[in-house]
Subunit: 231 residues, 2 copies
DNA sequence: AAAATAGTGTCTATAAGACACTATCAT
DNA sequence: ATGATAGTGTCTTATAGACACTATTTT
């Protein structure tokens, strides 16, 4: 607590986004190629500085989400703070990271502000050779880990799906995020046993090939009971 | 990303601490009575502004921990960010909250910088009538919830204990943080079954009354396998 | 028909909880 | 002795995982 006259430290606040989605049954993260000086040309998480001192942090995250990814109405939660003094060569930048979960997108990224944004498989983004700007590798790791943990006890998995989805689509989410294979029959019963997790969505059906599957949508419950157990 | 000349927003960074400990088998949080203007006289979490733009966030948290609570060498982890524009009447203050776990303290708080600090039962601090400064009520709730969750899969509970502890002392931690009663016999076997969680600490013993108990200390493992399951 | 996916039933190994019982201390 | 806490054994029930089986589609 400052009792004496005191110079406020010059600190910049940034918002960075870990936006996850499923493509081809693999977990992807949205990365942009940096167009300005520090780490120019390198891959980085979408994000930017707080516009002014009246802007809310989550509002800034939603603004970047729309500007850089063309996304709105997606799941968004705060992830962590990254404030190590040396993390940005431009000065003291404290980044507030947010985790966003986008449903299966038809288009990679529309012709938005940053058309250089691209969905990258998380495995590639975190591969030993891959280089991300700043400490964004750590932020991606933390974001994926958060998603993994929340899949166990919350209905977060439905945020990866369209409004209507089949149980096997939901299973693909768990398999991709956890990086495991699950038995479809046990998964089916497990998901049905978590009351309020998913509810039937009309008697409609779908047809890739094989028997048509029942459609569901996210239920009212967000805390799973019993939880989905990770193998 | 700012491509044009741009006025950096004037934002203050604060560090707030949720320091938890066990006293009389109840979970307590350290609160201080505010001595300056906003919320003067109200109870608040210990904390303060970042000293200068070169200070690391966790270093600032450790500094406040020592200055306001006289604590060092305790478990400390970052908790969350609280940055709502209206949360501090003095201006835009973004608070980075940290969660600290202190072992059973002999003295409440030594004659430190803030002798007005006091351990308060969490139930009292969060009681309907209780008023905490700023959004500190929410921060306490989040800190306690973090502790509850981490007790399940990590060895965090040992951070509440002295270097040597008995299994029933460890059980008190779980009971106080989770707010439940556990069967001592099942707890005993459960804890022993989580390999690496606790290791025997010499053939010594202790004597409150009843049969002397074996002493243990924290083991090398920090991720519990199998996890402790919350009833 | 075969191949593929959806959905159900059932068995087994394991883990969680209840609780009887023994052990070792203070008084 | 009694009361108290430590520690062990065992039984019952719930759950996770394996997997046989049926159902409904496309080719």
């Amino acid at each position: 607590m400052p009792d004496d006259p005191w110079q406020p430290p010059r600190i910049l606040l940034a918002v960075d986004l870990v936006i996850l989605t499923l493509r081809d049954a693999r977990l992807h993260v949205l990365l942009v190629e940096r167009g300005i000086d520090p780490f120019l040309g390198a891959l980085a998480l979408p994000g930017g500085f707080l516009r002014d001192e009246h802007e809310d942090l989550e509002a800034a995250a939603r603004r970047e989400l729309l500007e850089e990814a063309g996304l709105s109405d997606v799941h968004l939660e705060s992830l962590a703070v990254y404030g190590e003094p040396g993390r940005d060569p431009r000065g003291r930048v404290v980044a507030v990271a947010y985790l966003a979960i986008a449903p299966r997108m038809p288009e990679p990224v529309a012709g938005t502000d940053a058309a250089d944004a691209s969905w990258t498989p998380v495995d590639d983004a975190l591969a030993p050779g891959a280089k991300l700007a700043f400490d964004h590798r750590r932020i991606v790791i933390d974001g994926v880990e958060r998603a993994r943990v929340k899949l166990e006890r919350t209905a977060l998995a439905t945020a990866f799906c369209a409004e209507s989805f089949t149980i096997s689509e939901l299973q693909q989410v768990y398999e991709a995020v956890w990086g495991v294979r699950l038995d479809p029959r046990n998964f089916y019963r497990k998901v049905q046993g978590a009351r309020g997790f998913i509810v039937a969505d009309g008697p409609m059906r779908k047809t890739p090939n094989g028997r048509p599957a029942r459609l569901f949508r996210a239920g009212p419950v967000h805390v799973l009971n019993p939880p989905m157990t990770r193998p």
